[in-house]
Structures are given as C-alpha cells and as structure tokens.
C-alpha cells in the first residue's frame, strides 16, 4: 500500500533525479573532509498481505556493505571521510539528523516528486542553515553526507498478486527501491548535491551489489578540487 502510493507520487512527472550545485569539494584546509552520518538503510520483506516487515539480516548486511562501499569510494576519490555511528552522535548531530530527515523527505516529495511547491519556482535552495557550522567546527569537517535507502522485496506471493492485479487493470507494487544521497556544506548548511536513485540501482545485500548501488547513489559526486588542477 505504502510502496504503491509512495512510488506513484515519487515517480509521477519526475524527470530529474539529481541536483548539482557544486562541481567540486572545497575546503579551507588542504583536503576537504566529509562527515558520513550513519546511513539510514532498511530492507523490508513485503508479504502477500502487503505489509512490509523489517528484515534484520538484510538490513544489517546492507548497512555494513554500504559503509564499506562508501569508504572505498571515498578512498578512490581521495576524499577524507569520517564515519559516524549512531551511538557516537552528539545532541547537535542528532538534531541536525532529525532536521535533515524532514528536509530529505521534503525534497523527495516536493522537488523530485509530483507535489511541487509553485512558490519555489523550481529553485533548489533547501538548507539546514548556517548554524550547522558548529558540527563542522567540532569535527573539523567541511561537508556532511547523508544516505537514505529503502528496499522492499516482494515475496513470490506478492509478485503473483501484482501480476493478477495488473491483469485486471490495476496496479500493485511488486516491491520498491528508492534512496538518496545528500551532501551538505557545513559552513552554509546548504545542500550542494542531492542524488535520488530508484529501482534497479544495485543489490546492497551483497558486497559487490553494494558497490554498484553506491556508485549509483554517488553518480556525479563532486570531485576534490585538487584533482581538477
């Protein structure tokens, strides 16, 4: 039910999946440092009844693979990455994570999704605000990276149902994947890069698939300024 409406609203009229405000990472110091906030990744199993059930093993595997893949990608790109875990977050980091959750959901719905806000005039200026610099100062970082991913795997029963419903002229989701990666400039709080991915981007439950998925998530990620020279 949720996958159905979520994917309807997300996919209707969406032509772009990427917002790129900057071409490269910049820093006051030598190397730009990026703070990786704990990725919000969940795998669900959708039964024939349509209720998505969280799947622990898949979710644990995905979270671990995603972290590994992101570390590897960052190393390949020569980007300094600082990985934060849930248990280590300061109160300020938790507040900004909660705010980013709301902003990310807003971007998915109102920028990429069908529910446009006409007053934005297609501008992408969502921000977490300059107050976030305290986190940058505290961790000596220039950017914060947020990753969100949901994957609902349909069981055989669910797929069969989807086929039946389609034959009768209706639409029932046979599963849905969607996610985004978002890069926040810790000096201004602005979201400088935001990438949405949808179905078929990669299977995070195994290491190889996670690398593919991460490459997809991080397509067109801004490169280090020192690589440009």
């Amino acid at each position: 039910m949720y996958a159905l409406v979520a994917s309807c609203i997300l996919s209707a009229c969406a032509t772009t999946t990427n917002v790129q405000q900057i071409d490269r990472l910049e820093a006051l110091g030598d190397h730009p440092r990026v703070l990786l906030m704990p990725p919000d990744v969940r795998y669900y199993l959708v039964t024939a009844g349509g209720v998505p059930e969280p799947h622990a093993e898949w979710t644990q595997a995905a979270r671990s693979n995603v972290e590994t893949a992101i570390r590897k990608l960052a190393a390949d790109m020569g980007t300094d990455l600082v990985v934060l875990h849930d248990d280590d977050l300061t109160p300020a980091e938790m507040r900004y994570r909660a705010l980013h959750e709301a902003v990310g959901a807003t971007v998915l719905t109102h920028h990429f999704g069908a529910l446009k806000l006409p007053g934005k005039h297609d501008r992408f200026d969502w921000s977490l605000g300059p107050g976030i610099h305290t986190i940058g100062d505290d961790k000596d970082a220039d950017y914060a990276l947020f990753v969100f991913y949901r994957d609902e795997q349909a069981t055989g029963g669910r797929i069969a149902l989807a086929v039946l419903v389609a034959a009768a002229g209706g639409y029932a989701s046979a599963g849905a994947e969607y996610g985004f990666a978002s890069l926040v400039d810790l000096h201004s709080g602005d979201i400088v890069w935001f990438n949405v991915v949808r179905a078929g981007s990669g299977e995070m439950r195994d290491a190889g698939g996670a690398e593919t998925a991460v490459h997809s998530l991080f397509r067109d990620f801004p490169v280090n300024s020192r690589d440009i020279e």
Binding site: M1, Y2, A3, V5, A6, S7, I9, L10, D40, R42, V51, P52, E53, P54, H55, A56, E57, T59, Q60, D86, D87, L89, P91, M94, A98, E101, G104, A105, T106, L108, T109, G113, L115, F148, R150
Partner: protein, 394 residues
C-alpha cells in the same frame, strides 16, 4: 551480538524468579540475549533502533531527581535482572509502562500520578518485568508487527506526500494497543507480586494499583470519556484484581500495615506536581482528572497544590457553576499557602469575567509580585492599565 543456539536456551528454562517455590518460572535468565531465530534477531534490531530514538526523544524526561527515583525503584524490584533493564521516563500524562523485548522499559509520567505509593509504582514495574522474563513481550512484538506497518515517517510516503501530520507510528507507542492474553496477564501479575515481596516491598500493592486504575476508568465512563490505555489492554481488570488479591493474601497474609501515606512517594509528587499535573489537565478529560485529584488529597499531597489544580480543572471544564467552584478552589489554595503564582493570575481572569475589576487587579498585581519574570507580563499589564472593560471587548 552473542548468538546462543535455541536448544541451549530451552535448557536454561527452569530458573526460578524468587527464592523458594516460584509461582511461575522465568523463561529467560538474567543477561539474556536473543537466539539465532531469524525473526527474533529482527525484532531485537528494530527495538534497538527504537531504543536509540527513545534516547534522543524530545519527550524524554531528563530531570535527575525523577529519574533517580524511578530507575532506583526499578532496579530494586528487578533484583537479578537489574542489569538487563534500562528505564526511560517519557513525558506523557497517560498511564503506561511497557517493556520492549530487549529490556528497554518506557514509563510515562502519567504512571507516577496514578500510584499511591512506591510499592504501587513498583508493582507496575514488576508486572512488566514479569512479561519480559516470560518472553510475552517477544510474543506480542511478533503479533504486533503483523498488524501494523512500521517505522519512521519517511517510510510512510503518504505522510510525506500529503503533509498530513501523523503521530509517528513508533512501535513503542503502538505496543500498548495490543493486549496480552489472559494467561500472560495473570502470569505477570503473580511474578510481579512475588518480586515486590522479594524486594522488601508490599505485595498487596500488586492488586491495589489495579483497583485505583479501575476506579479512574469508572469515573471516566460516567463522563462518557474514552477508555484509556489501561482499559483497552486490560479488559478483565476487576476479575484479575480479585484473583490477585486472593493469591497475595493466601501467600503473604492480609495487609498488615497501612500502605498510605508513603512519604517518599508523596514527597516526590510534591516536588514535581505542577510538571506532572499540567499535562493531565490539558488532556481535557475532566472525569479522570477529578478522580486523580481526590486521590491525591487523600494521599496527603500538598493540599495547596491539589486545590490549585481543582481550580484549573473547573476553570477549563467550564460547566454550569464551574466558574464559582474554580474561584473557591483558587482561594482555598491561596489560603493554604503553597499555591503557585499562576493561582493568583487565573483567579484574576475569572474575576474579570465576573466584572469584579478591583479584585482582579489585586490578584494580577500579586501575581506579578510573585513572578516578576512572568512571560505574560505584557498581557497582565494591559488589564492593569484598563479603566474598565468596554462592552464586547476582552
């Protein structure tokens, strides 16, 4: 997470909860961690996520005094299980204490105002620990996840898409809407009562706390208020209280002392009464609130504070004759000496409505004297400046 094979857990089954013959045996030992059963792991992971959210929750009560009182009591009741339990005090005027399968216990502030002694509060906690040691929490969690769809609002594309403000569907809140079976409830009753006795607390509190909750529901019913969490999840509460009383009296003899007043508990309530009762009055459920205030007076909570809240209740209820009742209550609270500054202010507003401008202004001035930093000073000074109230103007 250390994985223990399922058959090994079964061998650990016969571990008594209490010294001597146990009423019902615990199914899990202290220090338990889940088996490799896939769904159990999954549930622990989910509740671990919920517990993380609880730790960062905006509704978590951080007051050190309240937390020491509640956690200290929980540890005492839990005995050997003390190390497995983590208590989270949540700002919510309803009655609730519930445990997640991993030992995280939520207690709502409304539980504190509905218990007459620390024994009764311990009874509620012990009852929940009983569910935990018998794995009822795990069984219920399994049943629950079949009946709802989960997670943060990001998972509900709907909420996001429509801007409809949903109460966030956290499992921890939903846990209360699914009842345990009759058998599970009576097991928890017995374990809880035995835990009280073992901890040197009064086992008679195990049934007296339910009687208090039943009385509150009866008062609510009269006013045609909706059944609360307790009634929804304990439909046969009265019968169970009878059974439990009989069992406790047989095993421990009749109550041999008056449980009340319990000074330690009453002192705790006095120290935090405004914080705890403000949210209760705001629920707009006046039948219940009235029942609770009556009980607090009988318990020996500071009468100035209780009378003040009677004033709040009548004033907000606003039924025929309530304005006069509220004025009396505020006056009474003020006479008793411990009324909060807002008693004067709220009395003043009522007097404004009665066109008694002089009395209103006296009380408004007194309010500002007592609370010079009052955030509504501008509003009060507006009334102090007015020569009279014009027709139709507030």
């Amino acid at each position: 997470m250390r994985l223990v094979a399922w058959p090994l857990i079964a061998c650990l089954l016969a571990l008594p909860v209490v010294a001597g013959d146990a009423p019902v045996e615990a199914k899990i030992p202290p220090g338990y961690e889940p088996a490799a059963a896939e769904d159990e792991l999954g549930l622990w992971m989910e509740v671990a996520d919920i517990e993380k959210a609880l730790r960062g929750s905006a509704l978590l009560v951080n007051d050190a005094d309240l937390n020491n009182y509640v956690s200290g009591l929980a540890c005492r009741v839990a005995g050997d299980y003390c190390g497995d339990i983590r208590v989270y005090l949540i700002r919510n005027p309803g009655f609730n204490a519930s445990m997640m399968p991993n030992g995280a216990m939520q207690i709502w502030t409304g539980t504190l105002t509905r218990t007459r002694s620390k024994d009764e509060l311990a009874a509620v906690i012990g009852h929940e620990i009983g569910h935990y040691t018998r794995l009822h929490t795990l069984e219920r969690h399994r049943a629950l996840k079949k009946s709802m769809s989960a997670g943060t609002f990001l998972d509900l594309g709907i909420a996001v898409a429509t801007g409809i403000n949903l109460p966030v569907a956290t499992m921890s809140a939903m846990l209360n809407t699914l009842a345990f079976s009759r058998e599970q409830e009576s097991e928890a009753d017995l374990i809880g009562a035995a835990m009280l006795a073992d901890a040197g607390l009064d086992p008679h509190a195990a049934y007296s706390v339910w009687r208090g909750l039943i009385a509150e529901e009866a008062a609510a019913e009269v006013k045609r208020e909706e059944p609360g969490m307790f009634a929804k999840t304990h439909p046969d509460a009265a019968a169970r209280a009878d059974v439990l009383e009989k069992w406790v009296v047989e095993r421990y003899g009749p109550p041999d002392r008056d449980m009340y007043p319990d000074h330690e508990h009453v002192d705790m309530l006095n120290r935090h009464y405004e914080f705890l009762m403000e949210d209760q009055v705001d629920t707009n459920r006046f039948g219940r609130t009235g029942e609770m205030l009556e009980r607090h007076l009988a318990m020996g909570v500071d009468p100035g504070l209780v009378r003040y809240f009677y004033g709040e209740l009548y004033r907000q209820r606003g039924a025929a004759g309530d304005a006069a009742r509220a004025i009396d209550a505020y006056r009474h609270a003020i006479e008793l000496g411990d009324a909060p500054a807002s008693a004067y202010r709220n009395l003043g507003y009522l007097q404004l409505k009665e066109d008694d401008l002089d009395a209103a202004r006296r009380n408004f001035r007194h309010y500002l004297d007592l609370d010079p930093d009052a955030s509504d000073r501008a509003m009060i000074e507006y009334y102090l400046r007015k020569d009279s109230l014009e027709d139709g103007e507030t």
